[in-house]
Symmetry: C2
């Protein structure tokens, strides 16, 4: 019966990009881990169900972190004064190389999984390292912690240190082993095809990963158009392509189940291709600023109806809290708006909430918000300590939640059951 | 004897803008609340003193928040989708008007003082509201909590709602009463002359505040060149001035003891005037982004040897933690660097630490860093939970502290004694 209960509190959720719904002093009925209904007053038929009473606290959706690098957790907040390619070579690859040690991986990943829950993240789309067994250890850690989503063993066979470079054959063979094991062992954490990014993957590797994606019907994640130097390099490496997105599309890696991080430098044509193919953009505002990449045209992407989700992108990003990342999305959109003299608009706090929650849910095949039938993924924020002014609108309360919540303020986290 | 003790841990402090000093597994000897010395090994003469043992944790300087609005604490994180002047009229002035109720003020200010200590802020330069008695209640709350610095009763006699507008005579009379009472009642929290900003203060009020500042030898705080619309308005309001800074300078309010917040739009000439007069800039990067003001030219200011300190500027800023504000200073400098095609450089994490700590200390008449003779203001950050890579430089450890510390990670706060 741990997955059948009533949650009571001030409920705010995001059923659409431009709308939040507020049920003050309301009730969510959860049956079998799924939302059965939301009510202003509790219906008599639910009177016997266990009541989780958070009266006065904010009950909202749990967060989806749609792009992050698990093996970079040990370097959180470090070395982010360098531009992307230099940072990769100085810090990142060396840190990731340590994950050939499965015991070390298990220690780091258990800590990461616990930390994710503490900041209210219950669904992820995550990069591991090239190491198959450590990747399986990561999936185990997430599943044990109650987190669901996708995890990918990284593929790379060029332009990276030998310590983490794979032979193309071995990269494919290990990916097949990874997929087999992962599908056998885990229920709520699933495998995803993960070419690191075009510079680190030969055409042959990309083509064979594309075949694997089609044969296995698995989704795909990678990086795209993050940094000006990287974009130029990609076009040098792939003379048969005239845009970054084509380097994935031509190898069968760009469609409705593809999620690409960043797209800071995706121009109008590339954004149109993303929309046409139904691919997903994981916007990572904290990382893009830290690595001096720039600010992605988020407002334009939303107006052009692209599928956009948010990612912490640790350890390019240094904020694991997706509430903080959502606040950073609002801030960096403002900076882009200022830089364009107001030609590009801002995004609101409630839009940021949607992107950090509902948008990810949709990627995972659910409805936005606390829709009936959805798995119940929720957080309870105790925001009573702040002295509120006499009137506070629901959107102000969400703004305050994004801008001021620390993990200690998150009183409870749900992913079907209370974690 | 609560102000004579030894603190043991990994000591990192910022004796200069471009340098940190690291004493791993070191000792700070504190006598009578002041730094007596820093040691790699504890001298025999100190063996009998009480030892506060934080082995393995980071011991660094406590934070100085050099610009914030205490009565805006109840609206933290709210309404920051609006530009400055609209935000002032919709949210801010209404919130501040409630502080004519001293009991309400006391409740909010006790909570604020406790929160400041919890985020490691021990020195402040703070705006209150126009209300004298509530301002004295604020000073009492800070002094009781162990926080020191300056607090100003705000002056404004035009261009604001009647509920908080003062008659010029009364504004001066109340300021005199405020100064008398404050100097009598408080030891570590001192009064500061606080014209809100030029648009809200008549020439007559400004002139008389300038006379009061000279007669009392008190420092002065205000706002300057925050927002493009505001800058244009100021020049309309003061036809005798050709730049914003002159509106303070001509009334005797701009000198070595003046601290002005923002300076986002201070051009080369205004910055030269700031340097020439020895005035201080309180850079408030979080607020400047939230209110769509822009990004101040921090790198230029530092290269031009201006006196720069940092402020949270709550509630335009939504981050009370000066570690987070310091991280935001690094991020927004990056964005300005990107926007100028690299013409303006970035600032490092260690420079940000200096600005958030030592720079404020210097404003308060102390030496930078944990200099001998300084009051001992320190925080202890427990950063052991994060799995560190094999080698971590002191600057990486500082970067990590700025980017990832939550208040729960701050294990102890010192301001002469342990708070």
């Amino acid at each position: 019966m741990t997955d059948t209960y009533i949650v009571h509190g001030d409920i705010i959720h995001a059923p659409a990009l431009d709308a939040i719904e507020h049920i003050p002093d309301g009730y969510v009925a959860v049956r079998g881990g799924r939302v059965a209904g939301i009510y202003g007053e509790l219906p008599a038929e639910y009177a016997h169900m266990p009541l989780h009473d958070y009266r006065g606290r904010l009950v909202t959706q749990a967060l989806c972190d749609m792009h992050l690098h698990a093996p970079q957790y040990p370097m959180l907040g470090m070395g982010i004064d360098l531009p992307l390619l230099e940072w990769l070579n100085t810090y990142t690859f060396a840190t990731e190389a340590r994950f050939d040690d499965v015991e070390y991986a298990r220690r780091v990943y258990d800590a990461l999984a616990a930390k994710l829950v503490s900041v209210g993240t219950t669904r992820v789309c995550m990069f591991s390292s090239v190491h198959t067994d450590s990747t399986l250890a990561l999936m185990q850690a997430l599943e044990d912690a109650g987190i669901s989503g996708y995890v990918g063993k990284v593929n790379m066979d060029r332009n990276c240190p030998l310590s983490i470079r794979e032979d193309t054959e071995r990269s494919i063979a290990e990916t097949e082993r990874f997929i087999d094991e992962a599908l056998k062992r885990f229920k709520r954490v699933r495998p995803i095809i993960t070419p690191r990014f075009t510079p680190a993957c030969s055409d042959d590797l990309m083509t064979r990963l594309g075949e694997l994606a089609r044969a296995s019907a698995l989704p795909i994640q990678s990086h795209m158009s993050e940094n000006a130097d990287e974009c130029a390099w990609v076009l040098e490496l792939c003379p048969d392509c005239s845009a970054y997105w084509e380097t994935y599309h031509k190898r069968g890696l760009f469609g409705e189940k593809t999620i690409v991080a960043h797209c800071v430098f995706s121009d109008e044509a590339e954004r149109a291709a993303i929309a046409r193919c139904g691919a997903w953009v994981a916007h990572c505002p904290d990382s893009n600023v830290n690595l001096c990449s720039g600010v992605a045209p988020l407002r334009k992407m939303l107006d052009e109806r692209l599928n956009v989700v948010l990612g912490s992108d640790i350890a390019g990003g240094a904020q694991l809290s997706m509430l903080q990342v959502a606040a950073m999305a609002v801030k960096s959109a403002k900076l882009r708006s200022i830089a364009t003299g107001g030609a590009e608009g801002c995004i609101s706090a409630t839009e940021a909430l949607y992107l950090a929650t509902s948008a990810g849910q949709v990627f995972f095949g659910e409805q936005p918000g606390f829709a009936q039938g959805n798995e119940f993924h929720a957080i309870v924020i105790d925001d009573r300590a702040l002295q509120a002014p006499p009137s506070m609108s629901p959107s102000d309360r969400i703004g305050r939640a994004l801008y001021t919540t620390e993990s200690a303020d998150i009183e409870a986290v749900y992913a079907c059951r209370k974690l």
